[in-house]
Symmetry: C2
Subunit: 186 residues, 2 copies
DNA sequence: ACCTGAACACCGTTCAAGT
DNA sequence: ACCTGAACACCGTTCAAGT
């Protein structure tokens, strides 16, 4: 049976295909950062030096292209969570800064979210969960974070923070102040 | 000079025009509630029993149509804030319930926001500011709300709440719990 | 095996003709 | 003065032909 269909057993892609894929993601990320959701596929293709068809070959849906661009941001946040964050407060502040620095991408992510239901599920995102759980546990042991605080809470707050950064960019630190106050032990 | 251009000194519209306008807004609101941002102008026109051109005559941009639909929701929230809310907590809980009950409209509002910058500025929205200020002052006098809490804070929180309801519908009460805890006096 | 880009489809918007 | 809806424009997506 298996001999017949050969359902693509994860062969390595051709070198030029991989190169094209990279160029498309990087180009998209750069354009999203500057002009947000108004950048169109034709422009990404032109700027990346490939045909539109190539963009669609690698990313059959806009959602998948957006996720690939977002994955890089998750990876950066993950690195911070593991190496530099000295607690939940500093972690969330860093997330706020990253979101604030690239609001174009946030807008694109939000726009792409509407159509499909699924949350983005990349490599970095999966590992982030562990890192955040570690930060929470550490603060709780130190007695500076409520024992009721969960990873789910932090994800929820991150989503809310993203909305605040997008709509009231100047106020996101105030928002974090309130939320962190609400998460203190009592 | 003024004799020449007659810049439409707010004459009353023709009866059928006003009726059409009403029908379009109501139809749009009903369709948005069910299918969110995917409903298209042609469908709204058909369902309302008018031509597409009529939709565009009354609402030159999608944003303006969305605002008209949203205004009704603001009016409802305003009425609650004035008559039924017995404090900020009960007000925000009601907002959460309203947002949760009509997530379709929230999605449409969010989608329309991307293109233009301006916040919606209808009648109800303007009056809401006073009503919220009153709720805040009352709670502060009662000593159950931090003196640092402002109307701006509440608007910010409402925006965040809207995002939480949209993306993690089951968790919005937990979100409010945290935020309200963070707004207690100390 | 992958790439290209012209062709197609879809949908938002306009505007000439009608009442 | 307002309405209608066919025509137009724009842009996302596909796919036949090419390397």
């Amino acid at each position: 049976m298996a001999l017949l269909s050969t359902p693509s057993p994860a062969r390595r892609p051709r070198a030029d295909a991989e190169r094209n894929r990279q160029r498309v993601v990087e180009t998209a990320r750069a354009l999203f950062a500057v002009r947000g959701d108004e950048v169109q596929h034709a422009e990404i293709a032109r700027e990346a030096g490939v045909g539109v068809g190539t963009v669609y070959r690698h990313f059959p849906t806009r959602q998948s292209l957006v996720e690939a661009a977002a994955e890089q941001r998750f990876a950066e946040i993950l690195a911070f969570a593991r190496e530099l964050a000295d607690g939940l407060a500093s972690y969330l502040e860093h997330v706020g800064e990253v979101l604030d620095a690239d609001r174009g991408l946030s807008a694109v992510i939000e726009a792409a979210r509407g159509s499909t239901e699924s949350e983005p599920r990349g490599q970095a995102r999966a590992h982030l969960e562990e890192a955040v759980a570690e930060l929470i546990a550490r603060d709780q042991r130190a007695g500076i974070l409520s024992p009721t605080c969960t990873v789910s809470d932090v994800y929820m707050i991150t989503g809310a923070l993203s909305a605040v950064v997008r709509t009231r960019s100047g106020d996101w630190r105030r928002f974090l102040t309130i939320v962190l106050e609400g998460l203190r032990p009592r």
